[in-house]
């Protein structure tokens, strides 16, 4: 039991693919769990989501950090014995097939939890295991559309759009972790196993719950009451946040809008929300007179929350990001630049070359994992030759 890696000793069998399930498994691995990624011979489909580099895309690399990979044909006659042996020793089982598929493969939660009553069994799906849409496949953008998020994410041109960040996959992974961790706590205290049904839909609803709650009883407005918002300046964009009346008066003063400063009808957020368009019309031309960095210096000096909109590269290069060791940089053969990987909170910095800083190739640990189950070299070679498993770096 390590202070830095509290989940040392916990064993996880992770059949999930994509990013929501794998990223949850990755967090378990980073917290010390031994996570065996069980994937098909052609690899997790995240490995082809974009342009692959050395058997990895951004998705598969991040989602598999710190795991070991066993590539196996789950439909082969040998697979049940192997997976069952892993499950018998496991604390957590994860799968992300469409509802019903895992049962047909023979690894449904009823059978596995009967075999191992302490098992925490996590299913991740698009719409959940119940309800009329349970069988629908769904990746992140489908849920951005379904939950109302895209309609709420409209540009000034009125066109809804998708955020490029896969917020629903990521939040599903985090909510899954928030369900698994207390279940592990209960398991440790003798409560036995537990079946967890986590869906992208449920996570998306929770993640954006405040907007949904708001929309249910009043007309939705753009978040933030003007002059809060993004402003075009002489040379870039600036985000300003004004909540308190004293901050509002201060910003009016700094921008030479003294009549607004003294306007009693503009005190309080609801009033400024209501008169948002009028306020924006007054502020916008003033913002255009100076560069973003000048406004930033002025506002920061006055204690107002504001930030110049940075690009990803500018963010990565920012001194504060460097000083706080926000990112680790991990090498992968074929990449021109090492990959920036953000260090999750509450964990030691991810170090290149350690098991925590390595993301497995498809089947990289077949020999090791099967050896651990008692299969000898001949048996493993035989399975490889018959296409039951795929070991890295041998071709398929």
């Amino acid at each position: 039991m390590s202070y830095d890696r509290p989940y040392e000793g916990i064993k996880v069998v992770d059949l999930s693919q994509g990013i929501a399930g794998p990223y949850c498994g990755m967090l378990l691995a980073q917290h010390g769990a031994d996570v065996i990624k069980v994937e098909p011979l052609q690899g997790d489909w995240a490995r082809v989501l974009g342009t692959p580099t050395s058997d990895h895309t951004e998705f598969s690399y991040l989602g598999s950090l710190g795991k070991r990979s066993l590539a196996i044909d789950l439909k082969s006659p040998e697979a049940p014995a192997i997976v069952d042996a892993l499950v018998a020793e496991a604390d957590v089982f994860m799968e992300g097939f469409r509802p019903g598929v895992i049962d047909r493969l023979g690894f449904g939660h009823e059978r596995l939890m009967q075999m191992n009553p302490n098992l925490v069994y996590l299913s991740i799906s698009g719409f959940g295991q119940t309800g009329p849409m349970r069988n629908k496949p769904a990746m992140d953008p489908v849920l951005q559309a379904f939950t109302g998020f895209m309609m709420d994410n409209k540009g000034n041109d009125g066109i809804p759009h998708r955020t490029n960040t896969i917020i629903n996959d990521m939040s599903t992974a985090l909510y899954a972790f928030s369900a698994v961790a207390p279940a592990l706590h209960a398991q440790k205290n003798g409560a036995g196993g537990r079946y967890l049904d986590v869906s992208l839909m449920r996570a998306a609803a929770n993640f954006t719950g405040i907007r949904i709650t708001t929309a249910s009883h009043r007309e939705l407005q753009r978040a933030g009451a003007p002059p809060s918002g993004i402003h075009a300046t002489k040379d870039g964009w600036l985000q300003l946040v004004i909540i308190k009346d004293s901050d509002f008066r201060r910003v009016c003063e700094l921008m030479g809008l003294d009549d607004l400063k003294d306007d009693a009808g503009l005190s309080g957020l609801p009033a400024r929300m209501e008169q948002g368009e009028r306020l924006l019309a007054r502020f916008a031309p003033v913002f255009l007179t100076r560069p973003a960095s000048e406004w930033q210096a002025l506002f920061t000096e006055a204690g107002l929350q504001n930030e110049v909109l940075l690009s990803f590269d500018e963010f990565l290069a920012h001194p504060h990001v460097g000083e706080t060791e926000l990112f680790s940089y991990l090498e992968l053969s074929g990449l021109e630049r090492p990959w920036p990987i953000p260090n999750p909170p509450g964990l030691p910095k991810i170090e290149p070359g350690t098991s925590y800083g390595t993301s497995p190739f498809t089947g990289q640990h077949c020999d090791e994992v099967l050896g651990g189950l008692g299969y000898d070299g001949d048996a493993i070679t035989d399975m490889r030759n018959r296409g039951v498993i795929r070991t890295w770096p041998a071709p398929v």
Binding site: S199, A205, T214
Partner: protein, 403 residues
């Protein structure tokens, strides 16, 4: 130890305000922890983030569900003894002041962890406890700007914009929980307490991890991962479509009668289609624009294609899938005509209005009860209230407060 509430018995003193800290505390409470929300007389500032009803806004309601509230003036002479007594019994301490402030108030992690060596002390801030920006205040949109997210979230008009959901607050709350839970797992196994420094910046960076990786490959502007996928404007409404595999593309071409594309060998495989994404999106878009989104949705769904009509939030709330899976619980709040829907997080029992887990406290609702449990008698509590150390919620005070 309860199967449904694994954190029963864990005690949390939660001084955090806003969303990120409180939402983390709410998850602890829903998983069974006893969470005491310590807030100023004026209440957590999330209680005034927009129009309030019965001392709550959309921000304060869901994020404090299942907690009890103690309203206390932390600068009063009596506060240290009360807080120290709570911390002495606590497993977790949460705070979200700007770095340095909690030390000046006298509740810094060094002193509290000396007082209670087993304590898990979690600080939530905008930019973290170290580095040159540590003292900068930062709410969600500031981090959307700083992290690169806003420029990446640019509309077709070329204007970057903010996502209305407080994604960085929410992600930070979830990452905070993901740091706390493993620490709680080994609590008592002979390991000392732990100090956790969680920032919105770190939450934001992790949430968008994949975008930074793509950017470093020079592919950040390649918005679509699959083609022809995206949002299409139909005769009525909008439709989101995802085409990944060849068989999806074949089915799409058949439905839209795009026979020339179906037989085009240069369009086999997702990578090949990505290279011709603009042409594909234009061709598909032309056909989709001719009929309503619902028409296409039905055809695509029947063919097994991933697609969804863009709904607004009320449509989502009313959807049979949301209703049948009990995705939301509803809560009656005095002064509101309609009950307030709050989503049920995964892995916990459905939240029921009126139960302790289904009650979001108003400021100081439990001040008397908490002090009474600590051994303060009725006279002492009345004295604390008279001297302005604590406030105790009453119906009248709340009505005056919202008037």
């Amino acid at each position: 130890m309860s199967f449904e509430r694994p954190y029963a018995g864990i005690k949390v003193v939660d001084m955090s305000q806003g969303v990120a800290g409180p939402y983390c505390g709410m998850l602890l409470a829903q998983h069974g922890a006893e969470v005491i929300k310590v807030e100023p007389h004026a209440g957590d500032w999330s209680r005034i983030l927009g129009p309030s009803h019965h001392n709550h806004t959309e921000f304060s309601f869901g994020t404090n569900m299942g907690k009890r509230s103690l309203a206390i003036d932390l600068k009063s002479a009596e506060a240290p003894a009360i807080i120290d007594a709570l911390v002495g019994e606590a497993d977790v301490f949460l705070e979200s002041f700007r770095p340095g402030v909690v030390d000046r108030l006298g509740f810094g992690h060094e002193r509290l962890m000396a007082l209670n060596p087993g304590l898990i002390y979690l600080s939530i801030s905008g930019f973290g406890q170290t580095g040159s920006l540590r003292e900068k205040p930062a709410m969600d949109p500031v981090l959307q700007a700083f992290s690169g997210f806003m420029l990446d979230n640019t509309g077709q008009d070329g204007v970057p914009h903010r996502v209305n959901s407080v994604i960085n607050d929410m992600a930070t709350a979830l990452y905070a929980f993901s740091a706390l839970a493993p620490a709680l797992y080994i609590m008592g196994d002979g390991v000392p307490g732990r100090y956790l420094d969680i920032s919105l910046m770190r939450g934001a960076a992790n949430l968008s991890a994949i975008r930074y990786m793509s950017a470093s490959k020079g592919e950040a502007v390649q918005v679509p991962r699959t083609a022809p996928s995206g949002i299409f404007q139909c005769a009525e409404g909008w439709l989101q479509l995802v085409i990944l595999q060849d068989k999806d593309f074949d089915a799409l071409c058949a439905i839209l009668e795009l026979d020339d594309l179906a037989v085009d060998e240069s369009l086999r495989g997702n990578e090949a289609r990505l290279r011709q994404a603009p042409m594909l999106i234009e061709r598909v878009g032309q056909v989709l624009a001719a009929k309503p989104a619902a028409h296409w949705r039905d055809l695509f769904t029947e063919a097994g294609l991933q697609n969804e009509m863009l709904q607004d939030y009320p449509q989502f709330l009313a959807h049979p899938q949301a209703v049948e899976t009990e995705l939301f619980s509803t809560f009656d709040l005095p002064g509101l005509e309609q009950p307030l829907p709050v989503p049920n997080p995964p892995g916990i029992p459905k939240i029921i209005d009126g139960t302790p887990a289904g009650t979001s406290p108003v400021t100081g609702q439990h001040s008397d009860e908490i002090l009474d449990e600590m051994g303060y008698g009725a006279a002492a509590i009345a004295g604390l209230r008279r001297r302005g150390v604590i406030t105790t919620w009453t119906e009248q005070a709340t009505e005056q407060g919202t008037a």
